[in-house]
Symmetry: C2
Subunit: 225 residues, 2 copies
């Protein structure tokens, strides 16, 4: 479904270069469920950003559902992202001027959904994540874990086939973390591909494959739950 071949990413700042990814080659099959783990700075978010078409590799190939992503222009890439991918950012990236409902609904606006249907969809997702009574509030009026749940709800609005989640339970308590993982597991059982970054072993235990990063490279992959 998503195939990386010898992908490198180098960040350049003035004279300094930081090699965030060093020749990563991984194949993510349709319907698979991955946990990506590794020390801070080992390239997990960089990997997810490339998989999510939010950034481009410095070198290497990325095939996404048959398309060679490197050959696509930015507009096509944005369209691809909007239609097929759901992304939960490590820092949430909610729009502070928009309410909970408007944040969740944003992908649908860009997909051209009718306002009635997109409000319905946003409220359904808000309820799913225990936010039904907060839909009119702005991100600054929410707790850290509440913001995280808004970010997850937004990532699911377009019913993506691939869900990329960067530490989706980093800011929530264990009970809520378990509930989020039940929802994510349910989505996987319905056929969606899940690639999530986590540093929590009990969260990683929901995945069927675990990919360990170290210094920008794949250290090893484990199968099994």
């Amino acid at each position: 479904e998503a195939c990386l071949r010898e992908v490198c990413k180098v960040y350049r700042m003035g004279d300094q270069e930081v090699p965030a990814l060093r020749g990563v080659s991984v194949e993510f099959d349709p319907g698979s469920f991955w946990a990506v783990m590794g020390p801070s700075g080992s390239g997990k978010s960089t990997l997810l950003n490339i998989l999510g078409c939010l950034d481009r590799p410095t070198s290497g190939r990325y095939l996404l559902q048959g398309d060679d992503v490197g050959a696509l222009d930015d507009d096509t890439l944005s369209e691809l992202r909007l239609r097929r991918l759901g992304f939960v950012f490590q820092s949430f990236n909610l729009i502070p001027q928009l309410t909970v409902e408007e944040n969740i609904q944003l992908p649908l606006y860009y997909l051209g959904w009718e306002p009635e249907k997109s409000i319905e969809r946003a409220r359904e997702l808000a309820a799913k994540f225990d936010l039904a009574d907060r839909v009119g509030h702005r991100p600054t009026e929410l707790s850290g874990g509440q913001q995280q749940r808004v970010a997850i709800a937004r990532a699911l609005a377009n019913d993506p086939s691939i869900i990329l989640a960067d530490e989706p339970t980093g800011n929530v308590d264990s009970r809520m973390g378990g509930e989020i993982m039940q929802i994510i597991s349910e989505l996987n059982r319905s056929g969606k591909t899940i690639i999530m970054v986590t540093h929590e072993p009990h969260i990683a235990a929901f995945a069927r494959q675990r990919l360990y990063m170290k210094d920008g490279a794949v250290e090893h992959i484990e199968e099994g739950r």
Copy 2:
């Protein structure tokens, strides 16, 4: 050292009120080490913000090292915060335009330190948190866990007597989380008061008291490690 008496906090948004704290009374002794736990939205960050003098209660009393905080004006409160408290925010609150070094150094600038000494202090702290080779980079050039460590380093710059940390290990891997907790434990052994929010039981296990929040109130307190 820090004493809360029947502290309430109500957030008002238009017609709606959210009671974030409901009559919280707790005494934090000098040199104590607390973990504050509880479900998402139970009032943990609100409690920390009040303890850290970043927000004022709606009602109730807060005594900090003998001072009645409610009787202090904003300038005196800012000075108190700068001199006595170190705060690690759940969302880091780094200044994007400043480098790692400049972010860490910011409290010292306000305390009037000489530039030579404040650079030395900032670099010492950067090294302590494995950031020595990144001091010239900006927050957007860092991973989530690296940003978190900058936030922790900044909170320690002024050598505060009370350290308030909101999920200080939420974005780092287990090994780095253990290293952060060793540093925090070491600070506690040197006499500092630690009040940290965490949802991770293995992080909470470093504390000697654990305060459980639920729906804005103290549910119970456990002693012992």
